[in-house]
Each structure stands twice: as C-alpha cells, then as structure tokens.
C-alpha cells in the first residue's frame, strides 16, 4: 500500500468532545459529543480526494463496507454477516445482512456490492482504486449473496476492502458526494463547514446496534495547543491522536481527564533517496543508520513518546519483528568506518523536510549526529503538503527527508522502484508478490523476509513508530485506543 503522507496533515486523529454548554435534563444521559481534530477535510468525497481527514470522519461512521478492521487490527464482518473462501483462494462468497438500507432509504443488496466495487476502477481517482485490481468478477447471486472472484489469490485485498475502496454506495446517493454522503452507517452528516466542523447525527434507521452518542460534532483545529485548550476548557471531550506530545503530561496529573496510549501505523521515516549519488551505495545508507541515535531523536521530537521499530512494520502487523530495532545500534565509529570503506569523504546532502513540528525538531538532531561522522546535511523546511509533495515526492529532488508514513501496511508501496525512496530491488518486489498469493502462514513468513531485507539494506531509517495517544474526559468509555485504520470509529464511544 502507498504511504499516505497526506495523513500527516491529519497528524491528530478525531477528538470527541461535548460542548461546554451541553447540559442534559435531569437523569437523561448526555449523548452529545464534540470531537476535536487537527486536519479538516476539504470536501467529503474520498473517491476523488486523498488525505486521511475524510475517511477519519466518515469511514465506519457514515460509510460502511462488507468488512471492517476492529481496534486490534483484525478483519471482522460488517455489512457481510459472514463469508467463505474457496480452497484455491479465488472465490469469496459473502452472505449479506438482510434489511439494510442506505440513509436515503434505498435498499442495500448484493447489487449494491456489484455496483459499488465495479464503480471503483473508472470513477475513483484517490485512496487506491488499484487495491481492487485482483477482482476478476462480481456476481449478485441473490439479494443477500455476493460472489467475488479474484484473478489470482491475494492476501491483501480483503484487508484493503476494510478501507475506503470497500465502501458501499447506492446509485441514488451519488449526486453530491462532496457534501452530502449517503451510506449505510450508524451516522448521517447533518452539516459540514470546511475548516470548522462536521456534525453527525445518529441514523434512526440504522440496521445494527444504535450508537450511544446521538449527536457528534467533529471540530477542526489548526493548532495543537488550541486543541488541548479546548479540551481543558470543556469545549470538547476528546482528542484522539494528539500530535504534540509535550502537551500530554499536563493531562496525566489531572483527574478530570484520561490519557489513552495505543499503537498507530505511523512510521516516522528518515528517507534516503536510494537513487541519488549520495545514497546509492548501501554502505553509505548503513553508515547513516549507525550514525543516528534514534532514541535521542524520539526524545527531542516526541518528548520520548513512541516505539523504536527498525523496520517499516508496526507491532499490529503479523510480520512484525522486534529484533530489527537493534539491527543498527548507535555506533558513530562503525559509521565512519563504513564511509571510509565506501570511499566517501566530505559528503554533503540536501535534507528536505516538511515544515511540520516533529520533522523540524527531529531534523535538527539528525543533522547534528550526521555532522559527527562527517556528513553535512543542509536542512530545508518545505511547505507541507504542497511544496514537499512537488519537490520531494513527485520530482525526487532530494537526498534525505524526514516524514511520517501513516497508512496501514505501506511497506510494499515504499519498496516500489517508482516511489520517492528510489529503492530498486526486484527480489524484494518479487517476494511481496509471492507473499500476497501465498497461503496465510507463508504470507507472514515471506512478508517478514522481505521487510527484513529492506531493513538490512537500509532502504530508509525508520526512526520510530508514532504512538496513538488519546486525551478524553474521564467519564468517556469505549474510546478507540489504537488507530489500525484511517477511520475514527465513533460507534463504540459512550459515557
């Protein structure tokens, strides 16, 4: 999967909160919630607009697919009651829930499955329409039975079906995707004002269990301090995925609030342009690995919050290998030796980073540490997303960068030779392809092998994994702790 760097815009996940003025009648439970988030959706159409902000708000809340990812990262049934897979791994038979309707009243049937998934290829431009490439045909066997046949076995496609591309649409609900989404989910959109707020109301005709919170307002902030101030002053009830960790400690000692620490899929990555003169030699990249004290970077940029991972795999993926965190211990002497071996002296690199707080703070530490082994890194902070995407991501005009890759299972995208990392290993790509078509056990083994090779070849320096930290009113329960997918599932939150 491709790393959604745009996700960084939404560095902070949805925050759920109640307005300060929301009082309830005697004995009535307060079922309204105001959530503070950091990046606003520009519109509500994730079929043509990238970025994590839209799926964060809408996926699982307004829109649903056949399957979803639970908070532990496991694929569970949603609109599909159950499914079976043929022995050759090619035919998936989904049994659908009966009596499901879209919020405009039209029925959800196997025809909707066929319509929605066939639409992806020609109508979707964002959020990975290629994820559905393995599908050969879709058949509505009956109103509640859908059969999907793949052209080759694929371990990743069902996982991807839990994301935006798996969303079920109705033909009558496509008129205004940008501002009036029509889905089968527990909430509907009442109002949306870009840059300000998105208001959700419980869907009275929801087919499943009604959510506890009946009125949810997602409020958008541009500043992490303004966000935490809003929580402290009672304007909002929840911050899910705080982005500036120095703001966290004040909540730990305050009994009015709870601090939830979970796992995210955001690998903060010191990327090296493998195709550039500076880093085409694996020994130079390895020298960088030894030259960087990742703990020190994490301490500075993240106030010590995070997890050293050493590869592009978070612990929530089955092929996570914790020993990779120790693959390149901090060893400047070793770095100097490797540079000498590679015949490199007085190396100067263009270190182009996005103008985001964690990147600016981390880059300074990296620069100082590289200087100790004789590498001069000229740091330029580029406007994110516009200029960074243009210069670094599209034009590959850089030697080194520092950015968080947020999307789940994005390591395969990172390895593609056309990707901005410029890593070109036919062997690794072949292994990823083999893994995708293999049985479940071999899948995990092969994924582990390929991701380990990438770590050994120092494709990039995966500095640390961003933690998912939520700050909430003390009385909230069921707040999603981890962020295994792009969605912020509001349906579990209660008081």
């Amino acid at each position: 999967m491709f790393a959604s760097l745009a996700t960084v815009m939404v560095a902070s996940m949805a925050l759920v909160g109640c307005t300060s003025g929301s009082t309830t009648a005697e004995g009535e439970p307060d079922t309204s919630l105001t959530v503070g988030l950091l990046a606003t959706p520009g519109n509500l159409d994730y079929t043509t607009t990238a970025g994590a902000a839209i799926p964060q708000a809408l996926l699982y809340n307004v829109y649903e697919g056949l399957v979803k990812l639970d908070n532990e990262g496991t694929i569970i049934p949603l609109l599909a009651e159950s499914w079976t897979v043929s022995d050759d791994g090619l035919v998936y038979d989904f049994l659908l829930h009966d009596g499901v309707t879209f919020s405009d009243g039209s029925p959800f049937t196997a025809e909707s499955v066929k319509f929605s998934l066939e639409r992806v290829k020609d109508n979707w431009t964002a959020n990975g329409p290629a994820y559905l490439d393995p599908i050969a045909s879709i058949e509505a066997v009956s109103a509640t039975e859908a059969r999907i046949t793949l052209s080759k076995p694929s371990n990743s496609w069902l996982f991807n079906m839990s994301g935006p591309v798996g969303t079920m649409f109705t033909e009558s609900g496509l008129a205004d995707l940008a501002s009036a989404p029509v889905g089968t989910g527990p909430y509907t959109v009442s109002s949306f004002k870009t840059g300000d707020s998105l208001v959700l109301a419980a869907n009275a005709d929801y087919w499943g269990e009604a959510p506890y919170m009946t009125d949810v307002t997602l409020r958008y902030f541009t500043d992490a301090t303004a966000q935490t101030n809003a929580l402290l002053s009672g304007d909002i009830n929840l911050i899910s995925g705080i982005s500036q960790f120095q703001l966290v400690d004040q909540f730990k000692s305050n009994t009015d609030f709870q601090v939830l620490e979970g796992a995210s899929t955001g690998e903060v990555t010191l990327s090296m342009n493998n195709a550039s003169d500076a880093f085409s030699d694996v020994r130079v990249r390895q020298a960088v690995m030894y030259a960087i004290d990742r703990q020190a970077v994490m301490d500075t940029a993240n106030s010590g919050y995070g997890l050293l991972i050493g590869s592009m795999v978070p612990p929530t993926d089955p092929w996570y290998d914790e020993s990779l965190a120790d693959l390149y211990p901090y060893d400047p002497d070793q770095a100097t030796e490797l540079l000498a071996e590679a015949g490199v002296s007085d190396l100067t690199v263009a270190f182009k980073i996005p103008n985001l707080p964690y990147a600016v703070a981390g880059a300074q530490v990296v620069k100082d540490q590289l200087a100790k082994v004789g590498i001069t890194a000229n740091v330029t902070a580029l406007e994110f997303p516009a200029v960074w995407l243009d210069e670094v991501f599209s034009n590959h005009d850089y030697d080194m960068s520092l950015i968080m890759h947020s999307e789940p299972r994005d390591v395969t995208a990172f390895a593609a030779p056309t990707y901005y990392a410029g890593y070109d290993s036919p062997a690794v790509m072949a292994k990823f392809a083999e893994a995708d078509a293999a049985d479940a056990t071999t899948y995990i083994e092969l994924m582990k092998e390929a991701t380990t090779t990438m770590a050994e070849e120092a494709t990039a320096d995966w500095l640390y994994l961003q933690p998912a930290i939520s700050l909430a009113d003390a009385d909230l329960v069921g707040v999603p702790k981890n962020t295994p997918s792009l969605a912020l599932d509001l349906s579990t939150i209660a008081r």
Binding site: F2, A6, T49, A50, S179
Partner: protein, 315 residues
C-alpha cells in the same frame, strides 16, 4: 465634485484590475500542484496529469486569468477545486465572520482608547497620568496573538468562564455567539486600543494648545467643557486617519487571531485554501480583501469631510 467622484472610481477600478493581475501572477509562480494534493501519494504521475487537465490547470495562464476575472466581473467567483462548492458563498460566509470580529474589536478599541487617551492627556503631568500612559505603552508592545493566548489560559482554561475558541452563528444561539466573540475581539482590539489611545492623547494635547480653546476658555468655559464642545471634534481628525489605516491592519491581525481561536473567518479560509492550492478560491479571497480595504479607505475619506468642513472645500 462629480469629477472628483469619477476620478476616485477610476482609481478604484484600476487598482482592482492591477490587484487581480498581481494576485494571479503571484499564485501562478507558487510551487505546488493542486492535482497532486487532491489525489495524494497513492496516485501515479499519469493520474495526476489527468487530474490537472480536469481541473483546467494545464491551460495557458492568460486563458485561465481571463476566464477567472471575466467571471468575477459578473459576480461569479467560480467553483472551488477542493470543496467543489461555489466560491462566492464560501467567501461571504467567512467574510461575515471576519467583519463582525474586526468591527467588534474596533468598537472595543474605541471604547477603551477615547476615554483613556483623553484622561492621560488631561492628567498629563500628574503621577496617575504617567502610570496610565505607561500601561498603554505596554498594551502597544503585547502582540494580539500573545494577548489571545493569555486570555484563553486565564478565562477559558483556568476559570472556564468562556470557550477557548470556535464560532457560533448569532442566528443560531446569540448568547453562545457573544461568548465566543468576546475573547478574540478583545485580543484583536487590545493592541489597536492601546495604539489609538496614544493618538487620542497626543491629538488632545495638541488641540488643547490651539487658539480656539484659549478663546473658549476666555469666554468663560471650563477646561472640560471647552475640550468637549470645541476640542474633541478637532482632535478626531488625526485619530480617524489612524483608525482607517488600522482597520486594514486589523484584517491582517484577524488572520492570526482566527488561527489562535479556531474561528472560520476569511483569514482561516485563506490559509486553508493556500495550503491546498485551491487557487481560484485564493484569488477570490485576496480580491475581496483588496476591494474591502479600498472601500474602507473611501469611507474614511468620506467621514473626514463630515467631521471637518474645511476638507469639503478642499475636495
């Protein structure tokens, strides 16, 4: 007089056209690709190129300019490349919020500056006058965003009397609207109030030395009455000039204050649109700001002639 008005209108129209060209050119050379931002990092270069064509980004600059400005002249600001909604209503919604914020802060600034300025002038050499004057100096030195953060810390976070930010439409909930307006308006108006009070002070001091005040005193009026009946109107002219200039500054200041307080005004809209390279929207917003400032200057000029009859013949 007709000629004067026509000349003013001519200058106005020329300024708007020049501003539109400058805005357009500046934004065309801004690095970044709106199509790539829309599609994100998962899209291939071919997808991005197709998207750029769909958004009309690959047309020659002159065609894009004429298409845009031609439509603006008939009141059509076009459609946002990001939200896919008409830009006109987006701008008027946000402008309404910013205007309320700016005008409220001007009123607060004046409510503070006029009495305070007069007091510090009248008590010029007394200890209390010196102290008050010092206070206004501090007010000048504290930037609006810092004042905003301090106000939030005290009144929202610590005392929990007022919300830390956000905006509520007055038609929806008027009390809530006022609660959300008060801190940002004070933060935005504080510096202007302090600056204005300095001008009021020096203006009043100057007027008090004028011959006509001495004449008024000579015919038996007390110092206070002389100042009130004859002095303030004269003292108002330089203050009005500063105020006119300040309103333009306040619009800029509002951009920062809207960020601090998460208010969806024109400043927030502008920054969001620039970040997403929604160029038609950015062009529209900048043009509206230019027209707004020009109109304000025009109104200030008009106000002068009302306050000071001498300026009428001069025109």
């Amino acid at each position: 007089m007709v000629f004067v008005v026509l000349r003013r209108l001519g200058v106005f129209a020329t300024t708007v056209v020049v501003a539109s060209v400058v805005t357009f050119l500046m934004l065309s050379i801004l690095p970044g690709n709106a199509a790539r931002i829309a599609l994100g990092v998962q899209a291939t270069e071919a997808d991005v190129a197709a998207q750029a064509t769909a958004m009309g980004l690959d047309r020659p600059a002159i065609v894009r300019y004429l298409d845009w400005f031609g439509h603006v002249l008939i009141g059509d600001f076009g459609t946002s490349t990001v939200s896919r909604q008409p830009i006109g209503p987006e701008i008027t919604d946000a402008l309404g919020i910013t205007v309320i914020l700016v005008l409220t802060s001007v009123v607060l600034a004046l409510l503070f500056a006029i009495p305070f300025g007069i007091l510090t002038a009248v008590r010029q050499r007394k200890p209390d006058g010196v102290i008050l004057s010092g206070i206004s100096q501090i007010g000048v030195a504290v930037p609006g965003f810092l004042a905003g953060m301090l106000l939030v810390t005290v009144f929202a976070v610590t005392l929990r009397w007022l919300p830390a930010g956000g905006w509520i439409d007055p038609a929806e909930d008027f009390t809530g609207f006022l609660e959300h307006l008060i801190l940002p308006a004070i933060a935005l108006g504080s510096v202007q109030g302090a600056v204005l009070s300095r001008y009021v002070r020096s203006s009043v001091l100057e007027v008090m030395r004028e011959d006509f005040i001495r004449t008024a005193r000579a015919k038996g009026l007390g110092a206070g009455r002389a100042l009130f009946w004859h002095g303030l109107r004269n003292a108002a002219v330089p203050v009005m000039t500063v105020l006119g200039l300040q309103i333009a500054t306040l619009l800029v200041g509002a951009v920062v204050i809207e960020r601090v307080f998460s208010i969806p005004g024109l400043g927030s809209l502008l920054l969001d649109k620039v970040a997403l390279r929604d160029l038609p929207a950015v062009q529209g917003i900048v043009l509206v700001l230019v027209v707004f400032v020009l109109l304000l200057n025009f109104l200030v000029d008009l106000a002068f002639t009302l306050i000071d009859p001498r300026l009428r013949s001069a025109a």
